[in-house]
Symmetry: C2
Subunit: 120 residues, 2 copies
């Protein structure tokens, strides 16, 4: 991977989150704002949100010049899945600390997949 590589995808799983916040697109938008602001990402359009009915969760998606940020929440399990695809390497972000503060997460795992590193 060079600096002009095809990117890395982070799969961030947050457990033990507050169910009410996982049903709130405002609470999740605050996470998006923190990621974008602190990593200096460039949104190409406002985030799109979809709240599933009843006790269901929320899906959110933000197109970035650097690729995309998405979230899917499962309030009944206290679980949220974030995906950040960045076509250029970024500084690490303190996902555990921020998701604990913003969503009440008790445990966060971050997995990183390098994309496009093979040959044609």
């Amino acid at each position: 991977m060079t600096e002009v590589g095809t990117g890395e995808a982070l799969a961030v799983d947050a457990y033990g989150c507050d169910a009410a916040r996982l049903r709130s697109s405002e609470a999740l938008a605050a996470v998006f704002d923190a990621v974008v602001g602190e990593l200096v990402l460039r949104p190409l359009a406002p985030a799109r949100w979809h709240a599933f009915p009843g006790a269901g969760g929320v899906t959110g998606f933000l197109l970035l010049a650097e690729s995309h940020l998405a979230v899917h929440t499962f309030p009944e399990r206290g679980f949220a899945a974030f995906d950040l695809y960045c076509c250029r390497p970024r500084e690490p972000w303190p996902w555990s600390e921020r998701l604990a503060a913003l969503l009440g997460a008790s445990r966060v795992t971050v997995r990183r997949l390098v994309r496009g590193e093979g040959d044609a």
Copy 2:
């Protein structure tokens, strides 16, 4: 993972694609249509497309009842990265065969991440 699990994420990397098709949101929309139609997924809104200027690539995103489908293309490398997050297990889809036919891909890798399988 049970059938009501929190899902699986597929990271599909396609190499050796035709550069002109990687700059065409119509060609990429045909891939989205094939994935959605053949896997019987349910879009919640029309797909969003963003074409980067000049020789740049295209980003596309589709919100699904089952979660999301995204693509980022890098025409200068003949590379496309697809992400399909499904909150319920699906049948396997013939990514290599379809992306060869639709985008001219010469090699396709599919990586699968189970999401949310840990405990709080």
